[in-house]
């Protein structure tokens, strides 16, 4: 039975499904990224600039 199922699959669809999956996921991530506020991105981008944990950037310490 498994053999029949496997044979019945039109594997050429895989490429199209894969492309659709990618487009959906990518669009979602792009949208999520664009929603990030300027203040947040500035703070995140500044993380590597300081080795000292004077400002651990935990929300509780702000």
């Amino acid at each position: 039975m498994l053999k029949d199922v496997i044979r019945a699959i039109d594997y050429s669809d895989c490429a199209e499904i894969a492309l659709a999956l990618f487009c959906v996921a990518f669009a979602l991530m792009t949208y999520a990224t664009m929603r990030l506020s300027r203040r947040a991105t500035h703070r995140f981008a500044s993380i590597p600039l300081s080795d000292t944990p004077e400002d651990p950037r935990d929300a509780t310490k702000e």
Partner: protein, 800 residues
């Protein structure tokens, strides 16, 4: 500092967090473990010297193939994997580890989770590299590019990579003191997860003793898995960790934040989503199903944009700091490194386009592309990082800025001097191989006719390699002198910082929206909250969930290609006349793999006029069903061997193995005379047959009488060779007992089964799902005719 109220109003940070969600944090003291960074930095430098020097050696062997007089341990086929492994896993690998250990601690504001695991990782990885350096020259190899190391070393890699490095890294993330995981850490997560998946699944083998194993995959499937691994090793070992390095060390060196954090996020997710699909572009026009290569090409082309997004993000990080670039060698290295990243990631998608690939594949063009990435991107980024780290790790000034600048210029000129002539050589090869004369015949039918045109380019490469190695030597001197001026005892600053709350944070609530009190469906209100993306912000600070999501992205993408390739039988139609190798041919195949013949010879005739005219009928998927591992190769320093069987007499092969230049003066093949002077261990042939049987080869009598059958075939071939003028023995080894005979048996078998009549099926047997036996072309008839005339082996094969 922002107030809690202000934060609560910022939906993209910790919006909706009630102040009560956090308790008063406990202060903790800690210091960074820089000793482990020093170890990895020094190891990077030493392996850079070894890896590039090995590269220079193999470059020399290409122009002076007789340099070592046929000494087997120093042949091109054995040393080239040593060079690639040293460059990738030793040099680039240690650079990655130095970067990860230094930056992770600072981005997480905590020490690595376990000092013991850090050191086990360091010494374990160095031991693996030493094991590779010892085994590869001895011909101990799995015969798959960039995955040559045998199974015990592969097991060690898995333990060290995931058990020591991965566990230590992820536990550090779990125990970090910085809530947000900076984007460099995302790249490290993707690296650790994906390399583990790639390494494990590409190296599934059936062991035969301690130092020999056979891939569980065969032919087409093995090729697919290999390039799924090979391409993504480039992606997730040589790209993502170096991007993490770039996103940490470039802002540090320029003393300004990355140009666009949003772009870095998009860069990350794009690479994770796209890269994993692209592997099949390495197999255009091969026996891999076309749908897979088309999919690989499509995703490869899509890679261009995010890659350039990353490059632009890197270069624009230096906005307002370009005056520093003129004086700071670190930034110089970074700028050139990122520029080469842009070049290589433009060229990669271009090379994946089928029409371009048809010209470039198997030529030196690929080699130039690879070195543009490896030397330009990985090399320059590593050197820049090491120069930036030197004064910080050794707590003293860099010994000589001038020497660092000299290294930069010598290295940059070395890279350009390398890639430009090799691009020319690649184009020359591609164009000459396909050029036709006015009668429609190959203008350069003999493969070696291209050699006089490319040899000058290869000589320039030797000069370029000398320059690049010279630059590394300068850096070694600079590092050593800096180390000499270190303080008697390193200072280890102790920091204090509050721990992050261990308890699970309450799920972020989206801020009120204009739809809350509007007369709309509940779905609309839910969507208005959902689209604020607070859920995504949560992912970015939950390392376990983040890691799981990256793994899912990588695995799902892989399965979309792997499942059809493995389960749909129509992808690899069987050919009734293709039969398993004889015991002697199996032994010969092992020698072919051990000598690294795949480093110079492909076994894949592409369906192109120039190829079929030069080599014969194009290769079919069903011809490789007994090939564990596949040996399609990826470049042609010598001609393709897919239809080698019967093309020349066994005596010709014997003479050619002994002294290739005696057969063809322009040949750049080294002598394999040691094969003519080393005996086969016929007793071990049985184990080899059993291993092949376990992997699906339908053996019967061979399981019982493998040594006798092998000896019988060897006698026939030896008789043929001796009858044409070869001595009966050489240095006390009879021709019939020599390894050369086994290799010749294998070579004489290559590509001949396709032209044989299919064996009669027993009455009443169910018809098999086979590819129709082809109408024979004149070339095929000729090949078969030559085979029957010139080689007793072929007829013996039929009997066996």
């Amino acid at each position: 500092m922002a107030t809690a109220e202000a934060l609560a109003n910022d939906t993209n940070l910790d919006a909706g967090q009630p102040a009560s969600a956090y308790s008063t944090p406990r202060m903790e003291s800690f210091s960074y473990d820089d000793d482990i960074c020093r170890k990895f930095a020094v190891a990077t430098l030493l392996w850079a010297l070894v890896g590039t020097a090995a590269g220079l050696l193999v470059a020399l062997l290409m122009v002076l193939p007789t340099m070592f007089s046929g000494l087997q341990w120093l042949s091109f086929g054995r040393l080239r994997p040593l060079h690639t492994n040293a460059a990738i896993f030793a040099f680039a690998g240690n650079a990655v580890f130095a970067a990860v250990y230094y930056s992770t601690q600072r981005l997480c504001k905590c020490r690595m989770w376990s000092d013991v695991l850090s050191r086990l990782h360091f010494w374990g990885w160095q031991a693996i590299i030493v094991a590779a350096a010892v085994t590869l020259p001895f011909g101990i190899t799995q015969g798959k590019e960039y995955a040559e190391l045998e199974w015990p070393i592969d097991l060690a890699i898995a333990v060290v990579w995931l058990g020591f490095f991965g566990v230590n890294f992820f536990m550090t993330l779990v125990n970090r003191r910085e809530r947000h995981m900076y984007v460099a850490l995302w790249f490290y997560i993707a690296t650790i997860v994906t390399v583990t998946v790639l390494h494990v699944f590409n190296n599934l083998v059936v062991p035969m003793g301690l130092w020999k194993s056979y891939s569980v995959y065969a032919g087409v499937q093995d090729a697919f898995m290999q390039w799924w691994y090979g391409h993504n090793a480039v992606a997730f070992f040589l790209t993502t960790p170096f991007l993490g390095l770039m996103y940490y060390f470039l802002p540090k060196a320029a003393d300004r934040p990355v140009f666009s954090y949003k772009l870095s996020i998009l860069h990350f997710w794009s690479l994770v989503f796209i890269y994993i699909w692209a592997g099949p572009h390495h197999l255009h026009y091969t026996a891999l199903p076309e749908w897979a290569t088309t999919l690989g090409m499509l995703f490869s082309v899509m890679l261009w944009m995010p890659s350039w997004g990353g490059m632009i993000n890197g270069l624009l990080t230096l906005r307002g700091a370009w005056q520093k670039v003129a004086t700071d060698p670190v930034l110089k290295f970074f700028v050139v490194g990122i520029t080469f990243y842009g070049m290589a990631t433009f060229e990669g998608p271009m090379l994946s386009v089928k029409s371009v690939n048809g010209l470039s594949h198997y030529t030196d063009w690929t080699i130039a592309h690879v070195h543009s990435g490896a030397l330009g991107w990985n090399g320059m980024m590593s050197f820049g990082m090491l120069y930036w780290l030197a004064p910080r790790l050794f707590q003293t000034r860099l010994w000589s800025q001038k020497l660092a600048s000299a290294h930069f210029w010598i290295g940059t000129i070395g890279i350009l001097l390398y890639i430009v002539p090799i691009y020319i050589a690649g184009l020359t090869q591609g164009l000459m191989w396909r050029e036709m004369d006015e009668t429609g015949q190959l203008k350069y039918p003999d493969f070696v006719e291209v050699m006089p045109y490319v040899l000058p380019m290869w000589w320039i490469r030797v000069l370029a390699g000398t320059l690049f190695v010279g630059g590394v030597v300068l850096m070694v001197i600079n590092y050593f002198m800096t180390w000499l001026s270190r303080p008697a005892e390193y200072q280890e600053p102790v920091f204090q910082a509050p721990a992050l709350e261990k308890k699970t944070l309450p799920r972020e609530q989206p801020k009120p929206t204009s739809l809350d009190n509007a007369p709309v469906l509940g779905f609309g209100k839910w969507f208005a909250g959902w689209q604020q993306m607070a859920w995504h912000r949560q992912w970015e600070r939950l390392p376990v969930k983040f890691t799981v999501l990256v793994t899912v992205a990588v695995v799902v993408a892989s399965l979309f290609e792997i499942i059809p390739t493995f389960l749909i039988r129509g992808n690899v139609p069987t050919i009734a006349s293709v039969q398993p190798y004889t015991p002697l041919e199996l032994a010969g195949r092992d020698i072919y793999v051990a000598e690294g013949c795949y480093n110079c010879h492909s076994q894949m005739v592409r369906p192109m006029v120039a190829e079929t005219k030069r080599y014969g009928e194009y290769s079919k998927p069903g011809e490789f069903v007994y090939d564990h591992p596949f040996q399609w190769g990826s470049r042609r320093i010598g001609p393709d061997l897919a239809r080698q069987g019967g093309k020349y007499s066994s005596y010709w092969h014997w003479t050619h193995l002994d002294n290739p230049q005696a057969v063809n003066e322009a040949s750049v093949m080294p002598s394999f005379k040691h094969l003519l002077e080393t005996e086969i261990d016929f007793k071990k042939v049985t184990d080899r047959v059993i291993a092949a049987h376990r992997l699906g080869a339908p053996y019967d009598e061979e399981l019982e009488n493998a040594p006798e059958m092998a000896r019988l075939q060897a006698e026939a071939i030896a008789a043929d060779i001796v009858s044409q003028g070869a001595p009966v023995s050489r240095n006390g080894v009879m021709v019939l007992d020599s390894q050369g005979v086994a290799l010749i048996a294998y070579l004489q078998r290559l590509g001949v089964d396709y032209f044989k009549p299919a064996p009669a099926e027993p009455a009443g047997a169910e018809p098999s799902d086979t590819e129709g036996q082809p109408a024979k072309s004149p070339e095929a008839d000729e090949a078969e005719s030559t085979a029957s005339k010139e080689s007793d082996t072929t007829s013996l094969v039929s009997r066996l």
